[in-house]
Symmetry: C3
Amino acid sequence: MIFQGAHILSINQFEKENVKRLFDVADQMQPYALRRRVTRVLEGAILGNMFFEASTRTRVSFGSAFNLLGGEVRETAGFESSALVKGESLQDTARVLSGFSDVICMRHPAEGSVADFASASRVPVMNGGDGANEHPTQALLDLYTIRKEMAVNDRDIDGLRLAMVGDLRFGRTVHSLCKLLSLYENIEVVLVSPKELTLPYELVDDMRSAGVVVKVSEDLTQSITDVDIVYSTRIQEERFGSKQEADLYRGRFRLNQAIYTEFCQPNTVIMHPLPRDSRADANELSNDLDNNPNLAIFRQADNGVLVRMALFALVLDVAHCVDEYSHDVRWYNARPK
Amino acid sequence: MIFQGAHILSINQFEKENVKRLFDVADQMQPYALRRRVTRVLEGAILGNMFFEASTRTRVSFGSAFNLLGGEVRETAGFESSALVKGESLQDTARVLSGFSDVICMRHPAEGSVADFASASRVPVMNGGDGANEHPTQALLDLYTIRKEMAVNDRDIDGLRLAMVGDLRFGRTVHSLCKLLSLYENIEVVLVSPKELTLPYELVDDMRSAGVVVKVSEDLTQSITDVDIVYSTRIQEERFGSKQEADLYRGRFRLNQAIYTEFCQPNTVIMHPLPRDSRADANELSNDLDNNPNLAIFRQADNGVLVRMALFALVLDVAHCVDEYSHDVRWYNARPK
Amino acid sequence: MIFQGAHILSINQFEKENVKRLFDVADQMQPYALRRRVTRVLEGAILGNMFFEASTRTRVSFGSAFNLLGGEVRETAGFESSALVKGESLQDTARVLSGFSDVICMRHPAEGSVADFASASRVPVMNGGDGANEHPTQALLDLYTIRKEMAVNDRDIDGLRLAMVGDLRFGRTVHSLCKLLSLYENIEVVLVSPKELTLPYELVDDMRSAGVVVKVSEDLTQSITDVDIVYSTRIQEERFGSKQEADLYRGRFRLNQAIYTEFCQPNTVIMHPLPRDSRADANELSNDLDNNPNLAIFRQADNGVLVRMALFALVLDVAHCVDEYSHDVRWYNARPK
C-alpha cells in the first residue's frame, strides 16, 4: 500500500511497514495537536466530512485533525432527507461530492457503502465507519495507543500480552484490532466474554495461524493478572435473548479500582474504544478508575486526532512539509508543554 | 443589473451581458476549482449558509465555493426548531443573521421567502432555492454547462437545439432555463413530456415571443434525433392522479445507451439537474450511459462550484484580484492538470 | 476573576471591573466586526461549538465571533442520537471533546450541565445556555448594549432607569441582567408583569440590598413614562393555567409606536432579547416600531458578536495582539464606515 491518493477503507490494506510509517508521522503531528505550533500546510484544501449517520466524536475528531493541518471542512451530520432518499446511487453521490473537496471522510450505516462510494469518487475516501463492517481509524488509533503506552516502559508492540473483554462477537473495533495485532511477534491475547459473545472462530483461527497465542476465558479476574493491557468493550443488552439472560452477566465483565488493585499488575494499562456507559448498573469501566494513571481511555481519544492527521498528511502527501508552513501559537494554551 | 452588493434572487435579474460577465469570471475560477492554485482573496469573510430545508449537494457546493475563495462558512442544515417556530418574522431573522456574515445563501421551502428575507438583510443574499419558485444558480450552471459543452465543437449558445424531457410543468429548473435561453439567438427547443406535465403555456408563449422555435412532443425517440443537447428531468410519480396513470408512462421518457446510439447524433450532450433516480424502474437516465463521454451530468455539478465562486467574486467585488492573493497548491491532487 | 483560561459559566463570576474590561475589549473589536479590518490572531485555533439544543442565532453568533478572530469552528447543532444517549457521562464527553479544540462553547437543555461538563474539560468552556439556569453572554450583551445606548447621550450605566416588561418569573435573561445591574450605582428598575409572572422575591431582595430602587407594576403605560430603557420580553402562553387566563393579558404588555409616542420619553431605548414574536395577536414589540431609531433590538444582536469576540480574546489571552495580526478588508462591504 502506498498512501498517496489512496482510499483508506479497511484495516486489511495495512502491512507492518505501513503501520510503522503512519505511526511515525502521527508522532510528528504531536506539536500541532498539543498547540505548540500551528501549521498551514493544507491551507485552501477542503475535507468533505460526510457523516450519513450521527457520530459527534468521530466526526469532530476528523474535522479537527483537518483543521489542525490548515484545511477547511464542509460537513454533513446525520442523514438528511436528501438526494439519497430520492433514489440516487452512492456512486452518483460520490461523483458529485468529490467535485467539492480534496478528500472525503464518510460514515454510513450500510456495510460496504463506503467502498461503493469510493469506487466512484475522484478524490481519496476514508472510511469513518460503515455499519458492522469496518472502522479502520479506530483500530489504528487503538494500536497507536498500545505502542505509546508500551513505549513508556521501553517496550514495543512485539511481545504484548492483551486481555480483550466484553462483546467480542459483534464489536467491529475488536475484530479490526485482532487483525492488526496479527502483524506483530510474540503476541498473547486472552479473550474474555460471555459464551454467547465470543470472538468469531475464523478470527481466532487467523490469529493463531499468524502466531498469536490465544486463550479463551469467561472469567475476568483470572484473565487480567498477567497482561500489559486490558481492552474493555461494551456489552449491549440487546445482544442477549432476554433481559433475564443479560442479568446473569451483569457486572461480571466490569472492571473497577478494587479489582484492578487486587488482580492487575501495577502498570497494566486500561483501554476502551468509548463511549463508556457510566450508568451505575451498566458501566464496563467503573468511574472509580478515573484517577488511575493507567486509565488510557482519554489518551486514546487524543491519539485519534494524531492518527487522523497522519492519514490526511500521508494521503495528501504533505507529511514531509508540515513543518515548513508552521509558526508559533499566539493564544493561551492550557495543555502541558 | 450590477453585481456588486446585489441580492441574487431570480433569473429575471439577468440580461445577456450579465450572463456573459458571470461566465467569463467562472472560467477564471477554473485553476482554483481544479486545485492548481489556492486563492485567499476572501480570507476573513464569512458566508452565512442558511439552509432551512435539507439539501446536501447545493449546500456543500455553495460552502465549498466560498472556501475556495478563502472565506469561512457558518451554516444551518435543515429546519431547526428554532426562532422561526417561535413566530419570528423572516425579516427579523434576516436583520439578526446579516449581522453575522458578509453574504448569505439561503434555501427555504416557502415561495418568495428568500426575497422577503433579502428585503431586510444588510448583506447580499443569494437564493439557494425557495420552494417551487426559483433556484437561479441551478439555471445559471445549466446554461454555463451548455456554453462549455458547445464550445468543445467551437459552437456558441446561439444556434442551440435542445430537447427538454420529463416533468416540464413543475420543474423550476426547466422554467428558469427556458427564460435564460430566450436571451439568445436562433434557439430551437423540443419539449418532450406526458401531456399532464407540459410546460406552462405562458412560458411557451414567452419563448416564442423572444424568437425561440418551440416544438411540443410526447415521443422521446423522435424528438432527440437532431438536437445538440438532451436535458432530462425527473418525473415524480406523485404528479399523476394514480399509480395506474403513472405506470402508463413508466420508461417512456427514459434515455439509455441503446436509444442514444440509435437515435441521437454522435456528440449529443446529455444533461440532468441531479439527483438522478438510479432505481431500476424509475431512472430517467439509465446507468448504462455512465461511460458515454457525452454524459455531462457530473461536469454540470462541477460547474456549479465555478458559477457560485463567480457569483461570490462579483457580488463581493473581488473578481479583479482573485489571482493577486493566490499561491501554489501544496498537496496531492488527483485532478487532471 | 481572571479571564485567561477561565470557564465562563455564570454571570455571578463577574465583578464590575471584569465587566468594564470585557466591554473595553468589545469596543476594540468593532473594526473587525464591521469589516474595516481582518485579524488572523487565532489562525489555527479551533472552537468546539457544541450545541446539544438547537439555537441558530446563538450558535452562529459564537461561531462568527471566533471566525472573525481568525479561528476555525467545529460544530454540533442539536441533539444527535450519539454518545450521550448510550449512557456516557458529560464528564467523559468533556474529556474527549476538549482534546479536539482550544475552547468550547456549549448549550445543553439540562440545568447545571455546562458546569458539569466544564469540571472535566481540559480547555476553557463558555456557557451558551443551560436550560432555565444561565445564559451569561446574553446578559453581558444586554448590559453592553445599555452602555452603548446610554453613551449616545453621554450617560453611563450608573443612574440608569429601566423598565423590565413581560415574563419576569421564568426569563433567565431578565434574572441575569438584574444581577449585573446590581453592580452599578443609582439604578432604578420598574418590574412590569402579570402577577403570575413577577420576578422571584429573592432577586428583588438582592437588588434592593445592592441599592437598586425597585418598583413593581402591572400597568405598562404608567411604568414607561420616565425610563431610559424599556426591556421587553416574551410571555409564553404555556406559562398560564389556561388559554382563558392567557387571553386576559393578551396585548396588555405589548409596546407599539402609538403607546411609545404617547407615554415614552423621546429617546427611550427599546430592547428585547429576541426572537420577537411577530404574529399579530402575540407580539410583545409591534412591527410598527421598526422605523423608530430607538429600537435597539438588532443593535443588541450585533453587540453579541462583539461581546463574544471579547470573551474569546480575553479567555485565550490575545486581546493585546489582535491588531498586530490584522490587515485590510479586500471585499465589498455594505456596512457603514
